[in-house]
């Protein structure tokens, strides 16, 4: 299984998420993660969808099917080496009064994670990184007792010098920039 990251640029309209995801379900492809946000240009959304697949050809076909949705402006499919990508995770860790205190220095220096909230008997730690890095940290922090853990979908940018938006149909370049 190879991991593919599919970036979809769309007009910002209702129901588009459904239109995109049914293309995956119909082909029985499981979505590993999905992130949607507005891009640097107003009115254009960016979907980042991570899937695992054995056949590159099938992923190429999938990309073309997504492109076919009327409101979709452009679709790009990437292998991990083509992109810079990250996820963000939040860990709610229990820190009872007489329990073992968290080693903030190791957390910061070794794991590049930050305590973002101090509760009375818990802390919230934010860790940004790849899936592997997040799970390494997960293993490290687990003995403290994880009350809650959440991991975001992947966000990714291409390693090409240009922005992906430059590939979009010409007319859009006239659109207002999002500040």
């Amino acid at each position: 299984m190879t991991t593919y990251t599919i970036c979809v640029f769309t007009e910002n309209s209702i129901g588009l998420l459904n239109k995109i995801t049914i293309i995956f379900t119909r082909r029985r492809i499981n979505i590993e993660s999905l992130t949607v946000s507005e891009t640097e240009r107003k009115g254009i959304s960016r979907f980042t969808i991570v899937i695992k697949h054995e056949k590159r050809e099938e992923v190429e076909k999938l990309v073309r099917q997504i492109r076919k949705i009327i409101e979709v402006l452009a679709v790009f499919g990437y292998l991990n080496e083509d992109i810079v990508y990250n996820e963000i995770a939040l860990f709610k860790i229990s820190t009872p009064l007489n329990g073992k205190s968290v080693d903030v220095e190791t957390i910061n220096k070794v794991y590049k994670a930050w305590v973002v909230y101090w509760g009375l008997d818990y802390v919230v730690i934010e860790k940004t990184g790849t899936e592997t890095e997040i799970f390494e940290f997960f293993k490290y922090i687990k003995p403290h007792g994880i009350i809650e853990f959440v991991r975001s979908g992947r966000v990714a940018v291409g390693k090409t010098p240009q922005g992906l938006i430059e590939y979009l149909p010409e007319e859009i370049t006239e659109w207002e920039y999002y500040l």
Binding site: T10, G15, N18, K61, R64, I70, P169
Partner: protein, 586 residues
């Protein structure tokens, strides 16, 4: 006449709405919808009223002199009628139905239209926008339900949106690879007044959607090179040629290059069947030579077709030796089933025009003769039997005789089953857009409403529906629509008292276990008469010719029922999932 009407409609459009008189309010959403239809030169719509679409039907009442509306008997009928209309005329079919069950009854035709690339705009009523999501009376999530089966859908909740959205709807439905568009029209948006004057701007391009019509020159050159080098080239053309109105271009191309060609089921009638380069059609029940020769050609030129599994059988074994040129408007179809060495993305008409000056004049007499040799085998094993004058009347005889009597110029609408395949085999088409079938979805019940729609779209043509006894009962209520319209739609039931195609499979692949395929049929003629349509039954061969004459001579709608051999099988046959080399002739 069509033109005159169009001009009138346009003048109306310009004159009526834009200048609101002093103190006068603007158009309602429903009125705006009617103006959009006029602006798109829509002259016929098919529909069925109900609660959530009533404001639009009320607006329609003021437009009935300009927009002809047909009241069907079931919304599925409206959809298939719109399809028949679109397929024969090349124009966009329009349906108007209510919310909930009205919309869901339209799902089958929508699914049929997307897979057979039929331009259609379906306007579906919806509950008031403040009730959306509350399980209100007759509320169905039409956007959710239709998304997987339509080309585009949109929910209108504000009357001001109407012109812009409808302009997009008509553009999307008709352009590129055509398909159905669903407009979910909230009742309050129909009733409320616009806040500005009605202005309609036709859409010709959208930022997110502008299908390539003119292919890239380098793709054309590569294709031409491959074609020119071929020793045994073979053209397979499909529905795309008809959709692109490229019938003349195909003929010119074939005549210049002398390349033998064959049609897919839906490409039928794009080439006159008596042309010396036309080898027949291919597919599961297609002809012997066209199927077998896919294994013999060195270059396969696929034009406006998509290598459907009913064409290829086992696609991994299909035309394995061939280098493929694929002319196709939808980029997602290229390499989907068969890898193309020379893909040409664009409209078939433009592509053929651009290829013409680059391709060599050819003479493939020897290569064409190889097809003809195989034809002899098919004739001996299949055709002779099918047309043999023994025992009960055979479906093939009826179709062959009808073909003679109509000089191959009728518009033939078929349903789904043995009668469909036999018709495709034995009608000798001479005119384009003359074979209308549900190909991709195989929707039983297609033919009665689609025949009606075709007659609306081409009132001057002889339209003949050829329908199975099973299929006829799926949309039999549309006889009422036909009767009320007064149109002279001709229908033939090829009655074998069986769900014949399924029976054939049970016989051949399920060990003769006939599981629920025998029908107890009604008296079809009495039913037709009950609807006000005359007809008669033909049981004997010696009456067949007269029977067909009687039907064809009728100035009104007519139903001819022919009692045919019960357990006849359709051959050749490429059993599902096998390769064309395993084609069976008996």
């Amino acid at each position: 006449m069509g033109n005159l009407l169009e001009i009138e409609l346009k003048q109306e459009t310009l004159a009526a709405p834009a200048q609101a008189k002093e103190g006068q309010t603007f158009l309602s959403g429903a009125q705006a919808m009617m103006e959009c239809l006029l602006a798109e030169s829509v002259d016929n719509i098919f529909g069925y009223p109900g609660g959530a679409i009533m404001p639009t039907y009320d607006a329609l009442y003021d437009y009935i002199d300009r927009i002809k509306h047909t009241l069907v008997r079931h919304e599925q009928g409206a959809g298939h009628a719109a399809q028949g209309y679109a397929r024969v005329s090349g124009r966009t079919g329009v349906c108007l139905v209510t919310s909930g069950p009205g919309g869901t009854n339209l799902i089958t035709p929508i699914a049929d239209a997307i897979i057979d690339c039929t331009p259609m705009v379906c306007i579906v009523g919806q509950v008031k926008s403040n009730l959306l999501g509350t399980d209100a009376f007759q509320e169905t999530d039409m956007i959710g339900v239709t998304t997987p089966v339509c080309k585009w859908n949109y929910q209108i909740t504000d009357p001001d949106e109407v012109p812009e959205i409808m302009a997009k709807a008509f553009f999307i439905a008709k352009s590129g690879k055509p398909g159905p568009v669903v407009i979910d029209f909230a009742r309050d948006a129909q009733a409320a007044k616009m806040t500005k004057p009605f202005v309609y701007k036709k859409v010709e391009k959208m930022v997110s959607y502008s299908p390539r019509v003119v292919p890239k020159q380098d793709q054309i050159e590569k294709a031409a090179e491959l074609i020119n080098k071929a020793k045994r080239p073979y053209i397979l053309f499909g529905h795309g040629v008809l959709i692109a109105d490229a019938v003349q271009e195909l003929l010119d191309f074939v005549e210049k290059t002398d390349i033998p060609c064959a049609s897919t089921l839906l490409g039928l009638s794009a080439m006159p069947n008596n042309h010396s380069n036309y080898m027949g059609w291919l597919g599961m029940h297609g002809m012997y030579a066209p199927n077998v020769m896919t294994d013999e050609c060195d270059v396969l030129i696929a034009i406006g077709m998509r290598f459907d599994d009913r064409v290829t059988g086992d696609s991994t074994k299909f035309a394995k030796q061939a280098r493929i040129v694929h002319i196709e408007i939808d980029p997602s179809e290229v390499d989907k089933i068969k890898k193309a060495e020379a893909p040409v993305i664009g409209d078939a008409k433009e592509a053929l025009k651009m290829l013409m000056p680059l391709v060599k004049k050819g003479d493939f007499t020897g290569w064409k003769n190889e097809f003809r040799k195989l034809d002899v085998k098919e004739y001996d094993k299949v055709t002779l039997r099918d047309l043999g004058q023994e025992g009960k009347i055979k479906m093939a005889e009826v179709v062959a005789l009808l073909s003679d009597k109509t000089n191959g110029e009728a518009c033939i609408v078929v349903d789904v089953g043995q009668h469909q395949m036999v018709t495709a085999r034995y009608y000798q088409f001479k005119k384009a857009n003359s074979f209308i079938a549900s190909g991709g979805l195989g929707t039983m019940g297609f033919a009665i409403p689609a025949s009606f729609g075709a007659k609306v779209g081409a009132p001057d043509r002889e339209v003949v529906g050829i329908i199975g006894d099973g299929c006829f009962q799926m949309t039999i209520q549309e006889l009422g629509t036909i009767a009320q319209s007064g149109l002279a739609v001709k229908m033939i039931i090829l009655n074998n008292n069986f769900l014949g195609m399924v029976r054939q499979w049970q016989q051949l692949f399920f060990d003769n276990r006939y599981s629920f395929v025998e029908l107890q049929n009604p008296d079809f003629i009495t039913i037709a008469r009950g609807f006000g349509i005359d007809g008669h039954t033909c049981t004997e061969r010696e009456n067949l010719s007269n029977s067909l004459d009687k039907m064809l001579d009728s100035k009104k709608a007519y139903l001819l029922e022919v009692i045919v051999e019960k357990e006849e099988n359709v051959f050749p046959m490429v059993p599902a999932g096998t390769s064309v080399s395993e084609i069976r002739l008996e």
